[in-house]
Symmetry: C2
Subunit: 445 residues, 2 copies
């Protein structure tokens, strides 16, 4: 690894400029904006590194890029996505989400942390490795899609059609982060997700609210139906759902107890006053990592603008996501939800499933996991913090199946993923390039 | 009344064109659009009839027009408003809301039924009376405001400052309608209204929904709080609120039983499948006319657009209106609501009162009510249907206080007030002009 660090230092400005260029390019999967342009930009960068690139467009999906480079005994599968979340609410950004801006050592842009920063970190590391060490000494397979933020609706089709492309000895997942104390975190799994839209429909059209005493109101129907899904103490009430949740083992509880989760700092950083049920300690972490969620992501009915409109709404909509732990699956949740609503007298509430992902977890003992740990120690000079799973989701199971997978990357505790003012530290970006170089070197050895 | 009818026939095209002109002028109080322009248009028409017009602009309100014309022993106060509801949802209109269009004998436009049709009906009747019978034989006092659809926030100030302008022997209220069987309806009162916005706020900003298991969600807080206000059988649960509601007397129940309310036709016309609690008959009418309502008019939180966004919302808002019967007042409802939410553990839900109106009712025996009944019989050849109150609201109490007041006008059962495709029948507009002529003649006699 002689000269690797110097090469990164020498090329700092260009490596940053290339990241800014891809972040300035909007790529909003939910709205179908800028996906082709972003895919082409990434594809050109892969080609410039000597990768063999294939484009897969499945049933009109934005391009999924599959790329291979390097050779050796080991194979590392690398997953990233070039799409980002919608930037709203726009008025809460301090700089424009698609005009990357450096302030106080951080780079602010939509998608910089989730996960264009990691994607470019990995690409720049390959350039630096080739320029200073030599040919990449293992086979690297990139899968880079443009639909992660809408639940990766076509990744499953790709994975089922091309299992040989996904054969690997280890899988480096899209992103990762430093924690609030700036310790490097490795994460060995993800929660699954089941995203649904619930609709209520009552009269043929919106009515004058003078009818409010005797004609059903779609907004009320939806509120009453939602209220049956979760109680005020955040217990999920969907009939039978919690029966599928595994209780953590004694070993898992002990590992949780060793995690440095700073409750007060998270609370201050994210600006809320108390955790649900006032949970603390291991109880809080069990709920966070080992239990499913039921989250209202959007709620819409009737008149939404400023001022007064006295209307009885005939339609109401809620977007709800469930984060899933083993053994919950997206199909099972939709089935339980339908039965639950019917059983509660809400046959009138329709459910539209908007995509789902399976939960997945890997073992600490796997050689790839151990190579990641060693690369962390070489880069950062200390052992990483290891989480059994992310509370978030990703199509890990879709690609990795039985391959050990690790999430490691350049975000941090205040990166504001999915929220206004998304950012990474420049330092983390450049150190992350070094980490990837170390991982290539150690996993190939 | 010799020649009155012929004069209206001769001037049909112009009377219609003048109505179209005022309907083509947007005047949306909730959004502050076109109010000055509309006020000026109405003012010119009043001046052309020989009225003395005064403009009142109170604390920056759109112009309130006060006009007097005619002379005699009796005085009739006439209330109308030139503002309209917002036109959304625009895509459900078959023609543009501000481009009046005649189809199948109806005129479609935002505000044509509520209540520019009645305003112009009354003005045209005065022209016809003056042209065919002679000078108006009683004192007519017009109060025409531009803020009715946002709860008339300045009418109270006007009324308190100028009680002498409101002295009258009878008060003709803004609008009225024919029922589904095309029978003329007179209504002797209105419900009051209390319109509030409820807000929930949790974290400092929207968060990634992976936090959904342990960080409070504003949308859930609002759903749970709303759920405590009304149950699934439409019983209002706000502590103490129903204690203030008068039970109807035996006489009132008997009058309700005589009302020709066609439950099936209303249901088909408005396109809903069942009344709340499956109520029928007098029970349904008691709830409609003699009980308050609690209606969600708008609901907003998190991501509202197409597609998937996995966000934990930090803010949520509901617009709620309560329609009030005696002895509920807007101030009392806000006070009870605050106490109720606090008592249920929702101190975090803030309440913003957005204006209110008192309930009011008049007696059937009053000479002005009887003159209205006689004018109906002369115009339409049959007795009107008489409702004790409208289920809707208006600033009746603010202006009329102890003066007997009647609601009579040119809307009909499918006029779609506050909704897309608002309309009136042309026949009702021209017959309504005749009714006003008869009322002037009979009340003055």
């Amino acid at each position: 690894m002689e000269g690797f660090g110097e090469y990164v230092d020498t090329n700092r400005d260009r490596f940053l400029a290339e990241l800014c260029e891809v972040c300035a390019q909007p790529s909003i999967a939910a709205q179908g904006i800028g996906l082709e342009e972003t895919a082409s930009l990434v594809e050109q960068r892969l080609i410039s590194l000597g990768a063999q690139v294939q484009r897969f467009e499945i049933d009109g999906s934005p391009p999924l890029l599959y790329a291979e480079l390097g050779s050796g005994e080991k194979t590392m599968l690398v997953y990233n996505h070039y799409d980002v979340q919608p930037p709203d609410p726009l008025d809460e950004w301090d700089s424009s989400p698609f005009e990357p801006e450096v302030r106080d050592g951080r780079l602010y842009a939509r998608g910089v942390a989730d996960d264009k920063g990691d994607l470019f970190c990995r690409l720049q590391a390959i350039e630096a490795y080739q320029a200073t060490v030599g040919p990449v000494p293992l086979r690297i397979k990139f899968v880079i899609e443009g639909e992660e933020e809408i639940g990766s609706p076509h990744l499953d089709t790709f994975a089922e059609a091309h299992p040989q492309l996904l054969q690997a000895d280890g899988c480096l997942w899209e992103t990762g982060n430093k924690d609030a104390a700036r310790r490097t975190v490795l994460t060995l799994g993800v929660k699954g997700i089941c995203y649904v839209e619930l609709f209520a429909k009552t009269a043929a059209r919106d009515l004058h609210s003078a009818w409010g005493g005797i004609i059903p109101n779609a907004a009320w129907r939806l509120v009453w139906a939602l209220n049956t899904l979760k109680d005020e103490a955040d217990h999920i009430l969907v009939d039978g759902l919690m029966d599928h949740v595994q209780v953590p083992t004694e070993d898992e509880l002990a590992q949780l107890a060793s995690l440095p989760f700073d409750e007060d700092q998270e609370r201050e950083s994210l600006g809320f006053s108390r955790y649900v049920r006032d949970l603390t300690g291991v109880d809080l972490l069990v709920k966070h990592f080992y239990e499913p969620t039921c989250t209202i992501c959007g709620l819409k009915s009737g008149y939404l603008e400023e001022g007064v409109k006295t209307v009885l709404p005939n339609r109401a909509m809620a977007k709800v996501d469930f984060r899933l732990v083993p053994d919950l699956t997206p199909d099972l949740v939709v089935e339980l939800l339908r039965k639950h609503l019917d059983g509660q007298g809400f046959e009138d509430i329709s459910i539209t499933a908007k995509g789902g992902l399976m939960p997945a977890r890997s073992s600490l003992d796997a050689p790839f996991v151990q190579a990641c740990v060693a690369a962390c120690e070489a880069t950062y000079g200390e052992e990483p913090i290891i989480y059994p799973t992310s509370p978030g989701s990703g199509p890990l199971y879709t690609l990795s199946r039985e391959t050990p997978a690790v999430m490691a990357g350049v975000a941090h505790a205040d990166s504001r993923l999915h929220a206004p003012n998304e950012n990474i530290y420049l330092q983390d970006y450049f150190e992350g390039i070094r980490f990837i170089g170390e991982l290539i070197h150690r996993f190939a050895a």
